[in-house]
């Protein structure tokens, strides 16, 4: 599934070359036929995060203080971890845990 992922608020520093926008192809997790946020998070952790994964995830969810938006919509309104993603969705992750 084609997804566009954006990382901000310092999360980009955990990725290769601190790239903010990633156009990626994410396969469904084993035994499922769609990509959920839960699946996406573990995919991101395994494939994109280069250092300090604890700054991004905690347990199987994002670290508290990291906001997630699916097509500009608060992921808490979309079903949170169970939200099912669709082709060409844009998912934004922003950390609020920084100076300012």
């Amino acid at each position: 599934m084609h997804l566009t992922l954006e990382f901000g608020g310092g999360l980009e520093l955990l990725l290769e070359n601190s790239t903010k926008v990633h156009k990626v192809e994410v396969p469904p997790q084993d035994g499922e036929n769609m990509v959920t946020m839960k699946g996406l998070l573990s995919w991101v952790k395994a494939n994109l995060i280069k250092e300090r994964p604890e700054m991004f995830v905690k347990g199987d969810s994002v670290r508290p203080g990291v906001l997630a938006l699916i097509n500009d919509c608060d992921w808490e309104l979309c079903g949170g971890l169970d939200a099912e993603l669709e082709e060409k969705d844009v998912v934004v992750f922003i950390s609020t845990l920084h100076g300012g």
């Binding site: 969810s61 939200a83 845990l97």
Partner: protein
């Protein structure tokens, strides 16, 4: 943590956009707001802007933060909070005819790759919002940049220096601008965190002050926090379209604040109201009238407000200039002789007459 049952009612999670905004009832909801008494949620983006700005206006009015004709310096770091504050204040000033003369006031700490970028943000704000900008630098004020300081002391306590120096720098800059008031972008999360830190440190004097929306009213330039009740989550979402311009301090991952902050965020996830509840608890602390509080005087060297003979900035500067940069930092790990607990205490008691004073933390609000 299991988040699937947080909402209870709707178990099969619905895709984005299936719920309507509770305010306009027309557009798709885009944001779940922290649950507080009057807040409408979920809400669409358009209604969110209106409600977000209205709530801040209400805070300003309810607390009479400003008087018409005042010159107000906006402490502008280029970070998300102060950038949103500058924008919202200039909007509200125009919309509701506050009659304020607004300025941006920035401090250049001298952190390569951080301030360079964020000062660019502030300069852009100067143009976008039509607000005059004044920049004061640590180098000018103290003779040291933060890069120099980190070279001298490492990454452990650098935020102490930065915080203490910044506080004075804002005051000096504001005095230079002949400002009547300083506003800062401290948000509800910041204040809840400070309440917890002051409890953990046993710093009663600051605990009683840290929840005030306006402080320093007896001093030359009072400070206020229009975002006192505004959640960080919403401040981050508000300017989303330009989030990429917002800078992150490269030294901050080592800040002591991180631990309490993470705790606050954990609480927020379980119970969003927790942040406001902590602020409320902080406000309701009553300190026995017989408790002896540190007296506020002025620093013998620079004249800045201080409860000690020398203000914190002068003590820290002394240490830096004498090659003993750990002087004035915390109570423990004062240097190689960390075993010298007795020595520490003796030193502490000659400096402090009140038992409270020795317990001051490093951060100031």
């Amino acid at each position: 943590m299991d988040s699937s049952s947080a909402d209870g009612a709707r178990l099969p999670p619905s895709r984005a956009g299936s719920r309507l905004c509770v305010r306009c009832g027309e557009r798709k909801a885009a944001l779940k707001r922290p649950k507080t008494l009057e807040q409408v949620s979920p809400i669409c983006r358009e209604c969110f802007y209106v409600v977000f700005e209205d709530e801040i206006h209400q805070t300003i009015v309810d607390n009479t933060l400003f008087k018409a004709g005042e010159r107000v310096a906006i402490g502008a770091s280029g970070g998300k909070d102060s950038t949103v504050l500058a924008y919202v204040l200039s909007e509200l000033n125009r919309r509701h005819n506050y009659g304020l003369d607004l300025f941006l006031l920035s401090v250049d700490e001298g952190i390569t790759g951080y301030r360079d970028d964020s000062l660019e943000t502030v300069k852009r704000n100067e143009i976008q919002y039509g607000l005059p900008l004044k920049i004061v630098s640590y180098k000018d004020l103290y003779g040291w940049t933060m890069d120099d300081i980190v070279k001298a002391i490492g990454l452990k306590n650098n935020c102490t220096f930065c915080g203490v120096f910044r506080r004075q720098a804002l005051d000096r800059g504001a005095a230079l601008l002949k400002a009547d008031k300083i506003v800062t972008g401290h948000n509800a999360d910041d204040i809840a965190e400070t309440v917890l830190l002051n409890i953990l440190r046993g710093d009663i004097a600051r605990l009683s002050r840290c929840t005030f929306i306006t402080t320093g009213e007896d001093g030359p330039i009072p400070r206020c926090k229009p975002f006192k009740y505004t959640y960080e989550k919403e401040i981050v979402i508000y300017p989303l379209y330009e989030i990429s311009h917002i800078s992150v301090c490269i030294y901050s991952p080592n800040a002591y604040r991180g631990f309490a902050r993470e705790f606050i965020k954990d609480l927020e996830r379980m119970r969003p109201r927790a942040i406001l509840d902590i602020i409320k608890s902080g406000e309701n602390f009553r300190i026995s009238t017989t408790t002896r509080m540190p007296e506020q005087g002025t620093c013998e060297r620079c004249g800045y407000i201080s409860s000690q003979k020398l203000c914190k900035a002068c003590v820290l500067l002394d240490g830096l200039n004498r090659g003993l940069p750990k002087l004035g930092i915390g109570r423990t790990k004062a240097g190689p002789g960390a075993d010298g607990d007795g020595k520490q205490r003796a030193k502490g008691s000659e400096r402090n007459t009140s038992s409270l004073q020795g317990k001051h933390g490093n951060f100031d609000f």
